[in-house]
Every structure is written in C-alpha cells, then in structure tokens.
C-alpha cells in the first residue's frame, strides 16, 4: 500500500511538475494562458503511437521525432493564431481553447475515440518491499526526474534561460536590456511545448491513450501552478508532488476515492490559497496598473 502510494505520487507528481513548469514558463514570459498546453502533450503521445505502430520506428527515435513535430506544430500555431492577437488577453485565451479543441477533434478523426496503449519500453518487474514495481515505472520516474533536472539546469545555467527568467520578471526592462521580447517569447513557447511533448513521451507507456486525455492533466496542472505560485519553478515542483501525494492517498485509502481525488486535491489548493493568496512560493508583485 505505502509503496503503491509512493510510486503513484512519484509518477503523477513528476508529470504534473513537468507540465506545470512548461505552462508557467510561457505564462510568465508572454502572459499567455495556454489551455492547449496539455493538448500538445496528448498530440505528442499520439505521434509516438503513430510512429511506433503504423510506421514501425523504434520507440526512442519516435520520441525524438515527436518532440520535433510538436515544437514545429507549436511554433506554427503560435505564429498563425496567437501572435496576431497577443495584446487581447481574452482572445488569446479563447484561441488556445479552440486550438485544444481542434487537436482533440483531429486526433479523434485520425485515430477514432478508441482507448489505446503502447507496450512498455522495458518489460519485467522487481520486488521492492513486497510490491511489484515494473521497470517501466522506474524508467519513467527516472526519465521524468532527469528532464526536470535538465529544465532546471537550462533555466539557471544557459543564456537563453537567463533571458527567459528575466523576461518573466519584467518584460519592459528585459526589452530595454536588449532582449528581443518577441523572440524570447517564441523560444519560450518552443521550450514549453517541447517539455510537454517529452512529458507525453515519458508517461505514454503507463497511460491509456485517448483524445480526451488532455482534460484531467490540464486541471491538475493549473492547480499545481496556482498552488506553487505562478512562474516559480520551485513552487511548481513542490505543488505537483503535494497534489499528486494527496491524490494517491485518496485513491488508495478511501473507498470510492477515485471519484473524489480531484475534488480533494483541488480543495487543498483552495485551502492553501486562502492562507497564501500568491501560492506557496509565489512572489507578491506590485499590482500592475
């Protein structure tokens, strides 16, 4: 039981953390609330499914291909639909909702609404304290943690990461310091959807594929972002694991808990917000006027 809870927490937590980091990056830099963020994750998963099952590509290559495809798709969508209306925040919001709907419907058209699975990359399991732990689960956790570390290093160590962080902090000053705001926004979008695609790739063998699979992570991702504080990497990380842990606890300990897991996780988020309106690690900004 306990190790089940820990395992689920680690898998879901790292998924949520990855998604939330991508989402809060693009929000911080470009003030885009990207509802389609998890739709990109869904499309990436389908890309891999398509490449491995229909084209017969080996899974690791398929994952790389998926990331490239998603980044291109994200950039095209951004250039065509988001950039022309960026100054109208509400319109951007609706545009991303519409994009998510379009992705969902296109996937429904191509792959139908069936539930599909992808075989694990590595099979077999080992006994960890009396519980069967699949190697695939361990691989997923390891990969997710490596990606998280990679994103962290990218944002802290590289020049582009510095540009992204500074633009997120203060767009105008960053612009005055010679950072091309529009280009930083575009690159951030590419990074953010790439993280979403990688997340999709990593979690794919453990989940069931269907075109509506973007809804549930979307809600949890938003909850994580709010809980941890918008734009705070540390916050996204902590928030993701807190919510994933509470979800896992509910599912395993309470009868009929599967119905309540989102409710309880979101209630925790609201309780935290009541005490700290800017999230766990958020910074109170001077009100923009």
């Amino acid at each position: 039981m306990l190790s089940d809870i820990i395992l689920t927490t680690l898998i879901n937590g790292s998924t949520y953390a990855l998604l939330a980091i991508g989402f809060s990056l693009i929000f911080g830099v470009a003030r885009i609330v990207n509802i389609a963020h998890t739709a990109f994750y869904m499309v990436a998963a389908y890309c891999i499914f398509f490449a491995t099952h229909r084209l017969g590509v080996n899974p690791v290559t398929a994952m790389l291909m998926a990331v490239i495809v998603i980044v291109l798709l994200g950039l095209i969508c951004y250039k065509l639909f988001i950039e022309p209306i960026r100054e109208h925040e509400a319109a951007v919001l609706i545009a991303t909702i519409a994009l998510a709907m379009i992705f969902q419907e296109v996937m429904l058209l191509i792959f139908k609404g069936d539930f599909r699975t992808v075989p694990p990359l590595v099979s077999g399991y080992m006994n960890l304290a009396g519980v069967k732990v699949g190697y695939q689960q361990l691989l997923t956790i390891a990969a997710a943690l490596i990606i998280l570390a990679g994103v962290w290093a990218f944002l802290i160590k590289t020049r582009l990461g510095l540009a992204i962080r500074s633009t997120a902090q203060d767009r105008e000053v960053a612009n005055l310091m010679g950072m091309n705001e529009a280009r930083v926004a575009m690159l951030t979008l590419a990074v953010s959807v790439a993280i979403a695609a990688l997340t999709g790739a990593v979690v794919l063998p453990l989940t069931v594929l269907n075109p509506h699979m973007w809804m549930q992570p979307l809600i949890m991702m938003m909850a994580v972002v709010v809980l941890g504080g918008l734009g705070s990497l540390k916050g996204s990380f902590a928030g993701a694991f807190i919510l994933a842990f509470s979800e896992a606890l509910i599912v395993f300990l309470i009868p009929k808990g599967a119905f309540l897991r989102e409710s309880v996780a979101l209630s925790i988020m609201i309780l935290v917000l009541l005490m700290r309106p800017e999230g766990l690690f958020g910074i109170v900004f001077e009100e923009e006027r």
């Binding site: 919001l93 609706i94 519409a98 709907m101 419907e105 809600i219 938003m222 309540l260």
Partner: protein
C-alpha cells in the same frame, strides 16, 4: 380612442427618432420581434427547441459577462452556478413536488449562495490566479456528485423533472420572455451606478478603493448577481431538458460560456447574447457533418478571433456605425454629419 392614437403616435415617433436612426437598434428590435413571432410563423419542433436552448444559454453567457467582463473577475468555473441551481431545482421538484415557477427562483438563490461560497475565498485572488482557481470549483462539485449517488443520481443524474409548461410553444415563450427580461435587467444593471463601479473595478481597482468605494462588497455583489442569473438559466435548463446530470459540470461547459462571451464581445451584455444565438444554431447546423462538427466550430472561432479580436458583434457595430467626434453620440456610418450636433464626421 384619443388616448390610443396619442400612444400610437408616440410609439411611431420613438421608433422613427430612436430606433430607425441606428442600424444596431433596428437589428435588436427585429431580433426580438422575430423571436416572439417565430413559433407562429414556423412550427418546427426542432428549430423551436434550438431557439429555446439558445435563450437559456444566452442568459448564462450574459451572466458571465456581468461578472467577468464588467468586473474583470475572470471566472472559469461558471458552470458551477448553472449546475448548483439545476440540481437544486431538480431535487426540490422531485422530492417536494414544487412546480417549476417555484424551483427555478429557489435554484437561483442556491446559486447566489454558491456565488458567496466561491466569491469569499476568491476575493483575495486576482487575474490569472482567480481564473485558474475558479476552474477548480465545478470539478470539486463533480467529485461530490459522483460520491453521493443516492442523492444526486451519480453519473446518470436526476431525470423525470416536471415540464416547464404543458406545450412546447409555451415553454419556448417562457424561455424567450425570461431571457429578454433578465438580459434587460442585466443591461440596466451595467448601465447604473453599480455597473459603472463594476467597470471601474476592472480598469483600476486601487483607484476605485482610493475613491472610498468598498470594492470587496461590489465584487461579492457581482458574484452573487451573476450567480443568480446563471442559476435561473440552470433551473430553466433542468426543467426544459427534464434531466440534470454531471455532464454540465465538465470543464467544457465552463469553457463554452467563455467562448460565447469573448466571441460576441465582452463588456457589452448584448455581445454574448448575440454570440449564443449565432454559435448555438451554427453548431446544430454543423450536425450535418457529425465527425468534423466541433472541428469546424473551433476553426470558425479561431478565424473570427484572428480578424476581430474584440469580438464579432462590436466589430460589426463599428463597421456600420461610428461615433460623433464632438458629442460622442453614435451615428449610422453613411451619415456625413452627426444627427444630434451636426458636426462633420470624418
């Protein structure tokens, strides 16, 4: 007799002087007249059903605009009000046999309570935090609905509610008349002093507070008002469909109302109403291609937003009318001079 001719002449004067001068007003009057006369002219159950539902959703979309458009409190969980009221109406109707005219207002009051419950924690949040937090409330309620299947019917929902009215046409008239009345009230609210304060809170909350206005109270008021109108829509919906289910709690429903409102143009009240009457029948029309129905719908929204980010209806209005530079009165676009102050336009 003399009195009648006086009123007729008065009506004629109003129509000529106030309505016919502006194309948008003509459109609004024509729209209402068509809605009222529709069942007399065309007796098609399918179309009547679509228009009834469109009326219900028009109230819903306009109530979102009252809260999120006017006060800028982005609410992503507007479906909550709708569903709280729908379930309240359904439970009252099924267990206490209260007829629709009683359950719908009571449902509205339940939605006001929901507005308070959401509003109080959300007062401390602003902007995107608020939007993302409100998204959580319908999901929480959904969990509760599923966890208490004895009371709420679980996934199947509650069915077998009393009809709104005996005949289809009568239900249609109830929906349409309630819609026109409530939208009129909302429009009046936004035009009043309260509405101006709502406007000001969106533009600059600090300045409003500095002018000695208790913004907290007004924001709560906005939540409650909006909740009440959305609740009426929810109650009507429950009695019209005769079923209340958790499907209306899904994220899609909350997004739908945002789509309607932004598509039609926020901060107008009439924008969302018009958008519902355009988009809802459009979605039904796309039913001819069932596979790509939602795809087409999303594309239409995307393309229209690309060219008219302010919303469709304000864009059209700006094309056919323009504002007098001197007295700020709206004029038909074809006029060379202002109809009031005779100043040259462009």
């Amino acid at each position: 007799m003399g009195l009648l001719t006086f009123y007729l002449r008065r009506l004629f004067a109003v129509v000529k002087g106030e309505v016919l001068v502006l194309p948008s007003r003509v459109v609004v009057v024509l729209f209402f007249v068509t809605l009222i006369a529709f069942p007399v002219l065309i007796d098609d159950p399918y179309l009547i059903r679509i228009l009834s539902l469109a009326s219900i959703f028009a109230i819903f979309a306009a109530s979102w605009d009252l809260l999120s458009g006017f006060t800028g409190q982005m609410n992503f969980g507007h479906a909550l009000f709708f569903v709280v009221s729908a379930y309240t109406a359904a439970l009252l109707n099924l267990h206490f046999k209260i007829p629709p005219w009683g359950t719908i207002p009571l449902g509205g009051l339940a939605a006001v309570l929901a507005g308070l419950v959401i509003g109080i924690p959300c007062l401390r949040l602003r902007g995107t935090y608020l939007a993302l937090t409100t998204l959580a409330f319908p999901i929480i309620l959904m969990g509760i609905v599923f966890a208490l299947p004895d009371l709420t019917g679980g996934e199947l929902g509650l069915s077998g509610l009393e009809r709104l009215a005996k005949s289809r046409v009568l239900s249609y008239y109830i929906c349409v008349v309630v819609m026109i009345t409530l939208v009129g009230i909302m429009w009046k609210i936004t035009d009043s002093k309260t509405g101006i304060i709502f406007h000001a809170i969106r533009e600059d909350e600090v300045a409003v507070r500095a002018s000695g206005i208790n913004t907290t109270r007004y924001k709560l008021l906005a939540f409650c008002l909006s909740g009440f109108f959305a609740g009426i829509a929810g109650g009507l919906y429950a009695h019209f469909m005769r079923i209340t289910g958790p499907s209306t709690l899904e994220v899609g429903m909350s997004f739908q109302v945002v789509i309607w409102a932004v598509f039609g143009g926020v901060v107008t009240i009439w924008g969302p109403v018009g958008a519902v009457f355009i988009l809802f029948p459009l979605l039904e029309f796309f039913r001819f291609w069932p596979e790509i129905r939602l795809l087409l719908f999303a594309f239409v929204i995307l393309i229209i937003l690309l060219y008219m980010p302010e919303g469709l209806l304000p864009w059209i209005r700006d094309k056919i009318e323009n504002e007098c530079p001197r007295c700020k009165i709206r004029n038909m676009a074809t006029r060379k001079t202002c109809r009031i102050c005779d100043a040259a336009i462009h």
